[in-house]
């Protein structure tokens, strides 16, 4: 029983880290006022490319790198279309998502089924769990927190860094003010374009990183719908977390609890499905967000200019 709980909690951490990276990435971008719905498509593409690279080079870390690269490119593309070309952010996001859905579908088959394979391509080279020498011996926490792949340890460091960046440095203040009011920010000399570009770059890298974890650690095969709307879940959790890094991570962990629970109890669910269908679980973050929006919608405060077009008037 104890082992079971240990395993479960460890799984929670595992599941929350890719979402955590994606969440932090999108958080950075949204804080600067850009609503990028194509986080979903970015996850799809980075997962796929990470899989391809991992398959051919048999090295998951290359997969992570390509994932980050894809994330950066896709987010910068979003930035280009919405800031430079001046298209509506939401529409660009929807279009980029569609493109990602289609491209992943095609590219996967192009790369693999072209040779008319018999079996599904799978990878042997996933990231290993690394046991941190002293810390992993600790009674409960050791097994849960310190028996994870490298990417999770990096996450432990990334979270406080982002927190400090947003709350304790002047750059965090710049980003916040751009998201709240780019007009005034530009007037007082803070370059809206520059900082948004930086947020897109870092944010895109994080989102790409999150996506790549799916095919370099969590799974050894690639499935067409493996991301299954998690990008939108992240958007929902960002709203619930009031665009604050710690609250958002908290929301992500809560969600991961439920998701990990659902994985473990798939069979159990199957038999008592009438009682608590697994789709309901999947729906939970969306339902919660809508309910919250209804109930305290007036008090939830996104960055004031989130999604609004800002064009600098010379």
């Amino acid at each position: 029983m104890i082992n079971f709980i240990h395993d479960f909690l460890r799984a929670v951490i595992r599941v929350s880290v890719p979402l955590g990276y994606a969440g932090l990435g999108e958080l950075l971008v949204e804080k600067s006022g850009l609503l990028n719905i194509s986080i979903e498509g970015t996850l799809w593409l980075s997962a796929l490319f990470a899989f391809i690279v991992n398959y051919y080079y048999e090295n998951p870390y290359y997969g992570i790198l390509i994932g980050m690269f894809i994330g950066i490119i896709y987010y910068l593309l979003f930035g280009f279309l919405s800031m430079y070309v001046g298209l509506n952010q939401v529409l660009v996001g929807v279009a980029l998502n569609l493109f990602a859905y289609g491209s992943t579908f095609y590219i996967y088959r192009f790369v693999f089924e072209w040779r008319e394979r018999v079996s599904i391509p799978s990878i042997r080279s996933l990231m290993n769990d690394i046991k941190i020498p002293f810390l992993s011996e600790m009674p409960l926490l050791g097994y849960i927190f310190f028996n994870q792949p490298l990417i999770v340890y990096i996450f432990y460091i990334v979270v406080p860094i982002i927190f400090i960046l947003l709350n304790k440095t002047i750059y965090g203040l710049y980003i916040t003010s751009i998201g709240e009011n780019p007009e005034v920010s530009d007037k007082i000399g803070i370059s809206v374009f520059k900082y948004r570009l930086i947020c897109l770059f870092i944010g895109g890298a994080f989102v790409g990183l999150g996506g790549s974890i799916f095919t370099t650690y969590l799974s050894n095969i690639y499935l067409d719908h493996m991301i299954a709307g998690r990008g939108f879940i992240v958007i929902a959790l960002l709203i619930l977390g009031s665009w604050s890094p710690l609250k958002t991570i908290g929301a992500i962990i809560l969600y991961s609890f439920v998701e990990a629970f659902q994985y473990r109890f798939q069979t159990l669910f199957a038999s008592i499905m009438v009682f608590l269908p697994y789709q309901f679980v999947l729906m939970l973050p969306y339902l919660t967000t809508v309910t919250v929006l209804i109930v305290i919608g007036r008090r939830i405060k996104p960055p004031s200019w989130l999604g609004k077009q800002y064009i600098r008037v010379k």
Partner: protein, 354 residues
């Protein structure tokens, strides 16, 4: 009135431009896949539109996209971002299927009529949720409609694996739609059904509503300047509710068409992203019913064409999906380009007149 002709031409320009870009992209992708771009394109157009059967298939596939796009025109023109068409489609689909199945005992065509109306209303009511939240609590409809999409998709998934599951096959699908609720075909050897020809009624009706009614005029105005709209006595709340209702209703009609007329069941993936694709199509078609019709037909034919080309030449399927995703992007970009050019022309003209 010559200026009016010029204005109309300018509206078509982005479509022509975008279509050319699309053709280019198709050829490039064919090339990359190792095919001869010219012959493959010829093949594509043959399989898309070449024979009566193929043309009718293109038309058939274009219907859901067409209906949804026509519906989306209304809220979009008024500045309401309805991204929830996908969810509205799913809700409408399951509602019409459920009604069809449970009213099967009634004589034809009663179950059919009930299912269609049920589907339309289902979509409309689901669209009213974000509308209501916007009107009463000023909640941004982008977030609400987006979230509701997933709620709908998962709810339907639950239903077709649970209470509405097909007991014979045990697949994730509803039992087949009973005969008394199937939309009859028009011609024996084509899949077109009677709902499909509704397109020819809807297109002119939409045109009339947008261009020739006070409602359509108020819509356009509100989309362009929501602040001034108030001072012109336009009732914004009423417009929000009405446009979303229309959009949901037409989306429901699209769903009824698919479920009752084409697929004859509700399965996982009953909508292949129709709700999202239509968003792009609305812009691609220049926010104009005729444009939308042409583009949906073109797009549907291209999808069918690429699928068949893939099948016969051995390249993997999915090319069309990739194209389809690129479409909206291309169109947005070409729209913006044309807009920028137009603006500079108009500014020059204004200066000249003063």
């Amino acid at each position: 009135m010559r200026s009016e002709a010029i204005v109309k031409f300018i509206k078509i320009l982005p479509i022509i431009f975008g279509f050319s870009l699309l053709l280019l992209l198709i050829m490039v992708l064919f090339l990359l896949s190792g095919l001869n771009p010219i012959t493959s394109c010829q093949l594509l157009f043959y399989y898309g539109f070449g024979t009566t059967t193929y043309l009718s298939e293109a038309f058939l596939r274009s219907i859901p996209i067409l209906f949804i796009s026509l519906g989306l025109m209304f809220p979009f023109m008024a500045g309401i971002w309805n991204i929830g068409a996908e969810g509205q489609f799913y809700v409408a689909a399951i509602v019409s299927a459920a009604i069809a199945i449970y009213s099967a005992w009634m004589p034809f065509p009663i179950p059919l009529i009930l299912s269609i109306i049920g589907g339309c209303l289902g979509g409309a009511v689901y669209a009213l949720i974000p509308a209501y939240l916007r009107v009463t609590r000023n909640v941004n409809e982008i977030f609400t409609s987006l979230m509701l999409n997933y709620i709908a998709i998962y709810s339907v998934s639950y239903l077709i694996l649970g209470p509405l599951r097909n007991p014979t096959t045990n697949f994730a699908e509803t039992p087949p739609i009973p005969g008394s609720a199937i939309i009859p075909r028009i011609f024996p050897n084509l899949r077109l059904n009677f709902l499909s020809i509704l397109a020819f009624i809807l297109i002119p009706i939409t045109l009339i509503i947008i261009n020739n009614t006070s409602f359509g005029l108020s819509l356009k105005f509100m989309g362009q300047n929501p602040i001034a709209a108030e001072f012109i006595a336009i009732d914004k709340k009423r417009i929000i509710i009405t446009t979303m209702f229309i959009s949901g209703f037409l989306t429901g009609l699209a769903a009824a068409h698919e479920v009752l007329g084409v697929v004859h069941a509700v399965r996982q993936g009953i909508s292949s992203n129709y709700g999202y694709i239509s968003i792009g199509i609305v812009y691609f078609g220049g926010m104009n019913p005729i444009g939308i019709f042409l583009i949906s037909l073109l797009a549907a034919g291209i999808i069918n064409g690429t699928r068949l080309v893939s099948f016969f030449t051995g390249i993997p399927i999915g090319l069309s999906d990739m194209l389809f995703g690129a479409l909206p992007l291309l169109i947005f970009i070409s729209n913006k380009a044309v807009e920028k050019i137009l603006n500079s022309i108009l500014i020059h003209r204004k200066r000249w007149m003063e």
